[in-house]
Symmetry: C2
Subunit: 233 residues, 2 copies
């Protein structure tokens, strides 16, 4: 989706990362650099670079005389986009999807409120355009086109919030939305009510109505939570 395995060490990561994320090597497992280098048919230098990257993600810890041990899940850098992708590709995809959707429900309403204050004219225009695109693809099994505009819509909101931390979650939201369309039940056309909410949200941001923007986004995210049977009554 973003960057494929650049260089040999990248290929190794593309194989090892998902395996660790999926629990193939449970926490506490010990790997040896030399053995891994042999297994992947690369030199030790390349293998060491790969291990360094995994270490920077807190997926593993490398210690002398011991080897490379897999860390407990609770210590992983779960905000690293690559770790997120690896986990979404594995077994605990549903669990990860839930965590991320709850995260969305916390972030996006606040981001929308800020966007209503800070959005530029260009951003407002783009937002309206995305909303129109969603409407245009909301009927007749045009899920791909709908998804494209949906992702773009939320990305603009997060960016327009003016907060760098929010902006960086654009990729995460994209993964969640894409995942929902691809893997989960999404055979039918999208809920018309959701589409309307997006159109109204674009209006609210354009008019600078922070409170309404926040409330509308909260409705959208509640819908996303309900889809996954996460009730917050």
């Amino acid at each position: 989706m973003t960057t494929p395995g650049r260089g040999l060490h990248g290929h190794v990561l593309e194989a090892l990362g998902p395996a660790i994320a999926a629990g193939t090597y449970p926490p506490g497992s010990v790997l040896r650099t030399d053995e891994l280098a042999q297994r992947f048919d690369v030199s030790r230098s390349v293998m060491r670079e790969a291990v360094r990257v995994l270490e920077s993600m807190h997926l593993v810890e490398s210690r002398r005389r011991v080897g490379v041990t897999v860390r407990p899940k609770a210590e992983w850098n779960v905000y690293d986009p690559q770790v997120i992708r690896w986990r979404l590709a594995g077994a605990d995809r549903p669990h990860q999807l839930r965590s991320l959707t709850v995260l969305r429900s916390a972030i996006e309403p606040v981001a929308a409120g800020l966007a209503a204050r800070h959005a530029t004219a260009a951003q407002c225009a783009e937002l309206t355009e995305c909303a129109l695109g969603m409407v245009a693809h909301s009927r007749g099994h045009q899920l791909e086109g709908y998804l494209l505009h949906d992702v773009a819509f939320h990305r603009v909101i997060l960016t327009a919030s003016g907060n760098e931390m929010f902006a960086r979650l654009g990729d995460v939201v994209a993964e969640v939305l894409t995942g929902r369309t691809e893997h989960e039940v999404m055979f039918e056309d999208p809920d018309p009510a959701a589409v309307t909410l997006h159109v109204h949200l674009a209006e609210a941001v354009r008019e600078g109505d922070a409170a309404r923007a926040q409330a509308l986004t909260r409705e959208i995210t509640v819908g996303a939570l309900q889809e996954l049977d996460i009730l917050a009554p």
Copy 2:
């Protein structure tokens, strides 16, 4: 605070990372691995490992025939604890502190609401203990002790939410709270109203009152925003 520079490549990172985060090498700057290796007096292998880590944080991009170029700030993995620490140590510390406080204001209320539902008895006890500790250190310039319990309090809330993404923000909140006490204006004793809010929040969680927990946390974070003159009227 967490992990000091382990190994030679760690020392290099401890020097290079903060420099890049501080803008010493502005985005677009080109570095050469060989030159860096000479400058830090390490072998190329070690330097390459350091560059790989910086690359995994999206701080730099390494391309053949070009060198190691610094990426634009907007692409950095700003959720990486190490990146956060590096940025907090540098010039845009105030800006970073604001971003993170806004993030807190979005996350913590939701986390508190979830904590009220999911917290175990042990977590409730720990929460009450922390709140009592805050009260005990709230007068007479015992800022260090107060901070300690404040950090622990918020960490328990985030963990008790049961959401791994929230839980991992414990370190971030710790940095923000510590930074506020250390660098910002924090000469006087903490606001008594804030202390009371924490005590009440512990109560609300213990009683499983999600709505009240959320509302109280919102008040707490609004206070944090006001301290930094971030008004959200």
